[in-house]
């Protein structure tokens, strides 16, 4: 009996020991100090502001999403290349011209790589540029209004992917073609690709004060695929680097045929030299046809102009301007460190990262250490520009950005991770998994001389089980890591709009103070603007009717209109008379074959209504503007096509 008691006592002691041991482990892993610490790092209290803006590309959504970091909160989706019924982008008469191209009106594109303008190699927070990949275009977004104000089409280009990266004083925004094509386009057999197709690298000048874009020149390169690019900076300012694949010049079963060469190239372009050449009359003017669309903030309207020629440059005509640096296995990213010395090539199919040295490249050029040429362009000996190799850091390297402490961060698509390594020693310091299959990553300022190395944002292509399921189509995502310490730490995982191909981040303080609150009414130069209720009117010109309408809390003026006839083209030109922050009004008309308008204070917008039936048809405000929002409505009387109902309008009294 004693023995039994003893053994029970022993057993109980052991069990207690185990139990308490288990308890300790649980509290460590779940409710420990660490977890709450992570939450605090991304918690931005209600009413407080994030430290950074992140402009995240929408990929196949065609738009650009604006998030705050570290919270991951979505503030706005800026319509760029795709029609957006919410904001009437591409639906109202003012912005339809923004989506014009040489192929006509195109309501969509594939938006890839945002990049923020720079001054002296640092972010200046004035504009974001982003490329449309499918129908090659570059857009400029003004960061005082967060609206797209300019889109330029790129001729002789296809799959505008190695874009839209800016030089260190925003002298140029650069757009490289991913698909080589006949230049100029012509009817020819596809099998004759090799040697006949060309790849255009386009340098678009940016006027320093207003940012107006203009194609300065196109460098007509051999028919490779130009995948990504980045500017030189600091010591390498004046150069631009482009990664290439398909140096095999294949045109079919590319996944195999474009993956045969052991090395493709990073093309180094001395744009300063070419700029000097064209400034001295060099280059060949070639007939072309491309749209240049500009939105004028003063008239609140866009105009589209078709340009008819483009200046092209044959690289062989500018000796010393273009060199090729062999880089293993179809490099994707082509990233320049903050000092401008190192150019990192991420060979997608290579086990290693290849880093070129700008200094060694110049030396190799000086001493003509060439391994031959491609279509007359010198190929530098692989070893003579090589600075080092990051050995076996992961599988499927794609893209690298840099912090302000001499570290680099590279994404690996296949092994689904971010790897931190040391620039100069090439040793791997840390790795963190991504969920899943990361594409690009972004450090605010990570593509400039002055990175803000506090966070890295990884953008994932696949999420599978990471969120509540939404049927077969699930969200893409971004993941935020703290990189302020030696080891990276995953902080946040948030869904994105469309597919985030790349992002540009910027300290909020550079942008926030310049963000406009409203458009001054007295500066509104819209040809159909109505600046007071006394000036409202309805004007008939044949079958076209122009309604000069105003809106202010909480009524339209006029709100009763008679004398419209079936078959008329009725233009509602609506001016928001408000001059208060965050008081937009909307307007929509029953049966109008277009979107609503969402009009900011001081702005004028126009929609077209073509009434098809007699009757009395209401319109109303679509933005909950005020306590009397529900009363903000009006009627239009539509008479038969041959009726004689007189044209009348009123507010606050019955139409006589």
């Amino acid at each position: 009996m004693k023995n039994i008691l003893k053994s029970i006592a022993a057993l109980v002691t052991v069990l207690i020991a185990f139990t308490s041991c288990n308890d300790t482990k649980k509290s460590d892993s779940k409710s420990g100090a660490l977890a709450s610490n992570v939450a605090e790092k991304v918690y931005v209290a209600p009413g407080e502001h994030d430290e950074f803006y992140a402009f995240v590309s929408g990929g196949f959504s065609g738009q650009l999403a604006v998030y705050g970091l570290p919270s991951g909160r979505l503030f706005k989706v800026i319509p760029v290349f795709s029609q957006d019924a919410e904001k009437a982008w591409g639906y109202n008469e003012e912005t339809k011209p923004m989506l014009e191209t040489s192929h006509g009106f195109i309501p969509w594109d594939d938006a890839h790589h945002p990049d923020i303008s720079q001054t002296a190699g640092e972010l200046d927070g004035r504009w974001v540029f982003i490329n449309g990949n499918n129908t090659p275009r570059i857009a400029k977004i003004d960061l005082t209004t967060f609206e797209t104000t300019e889109i330029i089409e790129i001729p002789n280009s296809a799959g505008n992917h190695s874009s839209s990266f800016v030089t260190e004083n925003t002298e140029y925004v650069v757009a490289g073609t991913r698909f080589s094509v006949p230049v100029p386009q012509k009817d020819m057999p596809i099998k004759d690709y090799k040697g006949n197709f060309k790849g255009a690298l386009t340098f678009i000048s940016v006027e320093p004060e207003h940012g107006h874009m203009d194609i300065k020149f196109q460098l007509i390169m051999p028919g490779f695929d130009y995948d990504l690019s980045h500017p030189g900076r600091g010591k390498s300012h004046g150069w631009f680097f482009f990664s290439t694949y398909n140096t095999e010049e294949a045109s079919t079963l590319m996944e195999v045929n474009a993956s045969q060469n052991d090395k493709d190239f990073i093309a180094a372009v001395n744009w300063k030299k070419i700029e000097e050449y064209v400034n001295n009359g060099g280059g060949t003017m070639m007939p072309a046809n491309y749209a240049h669309n500009v939105y004028d903030e003063s008239t609140h309207m866009a105009t589209s102009t078709m340009k008819k020629e483009v200046l092209t440059v044959n690289p062989l005509d500018v000796p010393g301007a273009v060199y090729l640096m062999p880089t293993p296995k179809s490099p994707h990213g082509c990233d320049v460190d903050p000092t401008g010395e190192y150019i990192v090539g991420s060979g997608k199919l290579s086990a290693n990262l290849t880093i070129h040295s700008f200094t060694k490249m110049l030396d190799a050029i000086e001493n003509e250490k060439f391994a031959g040429d491609a279509y007359g362009i010198p190929i530098i000996n692989f070893d003579d520009s090589l600075a080092g190799v990051v050995e076996q850091p992961g599988l499927g390297p794609l893209h690298t950005e840099f912090d302000d402490k001499g570290n680099a961060y590279t994404t690996f698509f296949i092994s689904s991770e971010v790897v931190k390594w040391k620039v100069g020693t090439w040793e791997v310091l840390d790795r963190q998994p991504c969920y899943y299959s990361v594409g690009h990553l972004m450090i605010p300022g990570g593509n400039s001389q002055k990175p803000f190395g506090k966070y890295v944002l990884a953008m994932n292509k696949i999420t599978k089980d990471r969120y509540l399921p939404t049927g077969p189509e699930v969200t893409q995502s971004a993941q935020l890591y703290d990189i302020s310490g030696d080891k990276m730490e995953l902080l946040l995982d948030f869904p994105t709009v469309g597919e985030p191909h790349y992002a540009a981040g910027c300290p909020a303080d550079l942008i926030k103070p310049r963000s406009k609150k409203l458009f001054p009414l007295e500066e509104n130069n819209h040809p159909y603007a109505t600046k007071s209720e006394a000036d409202t009117k309805v004007v008939r010109d044949g079958n076209t009717v122009h309604i000069y309408m105003t809106m202010i809390r909480s009524h339209f003026s006029p709100d009763n209109i008679e004398g419209i006839r079936v078959g008329d083209k009725v233009y509602f030109h609506v001016t928001n008379l408000e001059q208060d922050y965050d008081v937009p009004h909307g307007v929509s008309m029953i049966g109008a074959n277009t979107s609503e308008l969402l009009i900011m204070p001081g702005q004028t917008e126009t929609f077209l209504w073509e009434p098809k039936q007699e009757g009395v048809w209401p319109f109303y405000c679509t933005d909950f503007c005020s306590a009397l929002h529900q009363e903000m409505q009006g009627y239009v009387r539509v008479s038969a096509a041959n009726a004689n109902t007189p044209l009348k309008w009123s507010l606050g009294e019955d139409i006589e």
């Binding site: 202010i552 408000e578 306590a627 009397l628």
Partner: protein
Amino acid sequence: MLLAAILPLGLFLFPLWKITLEAPQYPTPLGMYIYINDFADANPHDIKNINLMNHYVGMKYIPEAIPEFKIFPAGILITTVIGLLIAFKGNYKWFLYWFILMIVLSSAGLYDFYLWEHDYGHNLDPRAIMKFTNPDGTQMGFQPPLFGSKDILNFRAHSYPRLGALFLALGIGTSLIAYLVGKKSYKKSLEM
């Protein structure tokens, strides 16, 4: 006394009064400066937006100009001229008369301001969109305070004098000091 006469001219440079309206939807409060000859926005478009708010309860628009904008500057100029004449010609007793004149005029001005405020806050459009009554059933008024702070529906209204009023007060105060100093030195001269 010279100083006393000149100081009220500061009213032409600086606002006399400021009314500020705070509400949750206005993280930057709406505000209006009252100058001796003008109403001015504290931030751009504030008066327009105050009018927009007030039309819901039937208050009148704040006028572009009121007769006082002509009378008050004239009054200040006249009293300044009188003050200057006294400063150069008059004896200390006149300093006291000027002081009393200014107190009377300023009080009249304040009373006028109160009357305007009262009318503005109580003389409401019978077709007002929203009508509010006090607990006792009388019509609720929206008169901002003459001096101090007050809750009016969702707004908290503040009404305080500004730099211009300070200049006026300093001028008036200085004339009183001038009188006292003048009186003292006059008595001294009598004793000697």
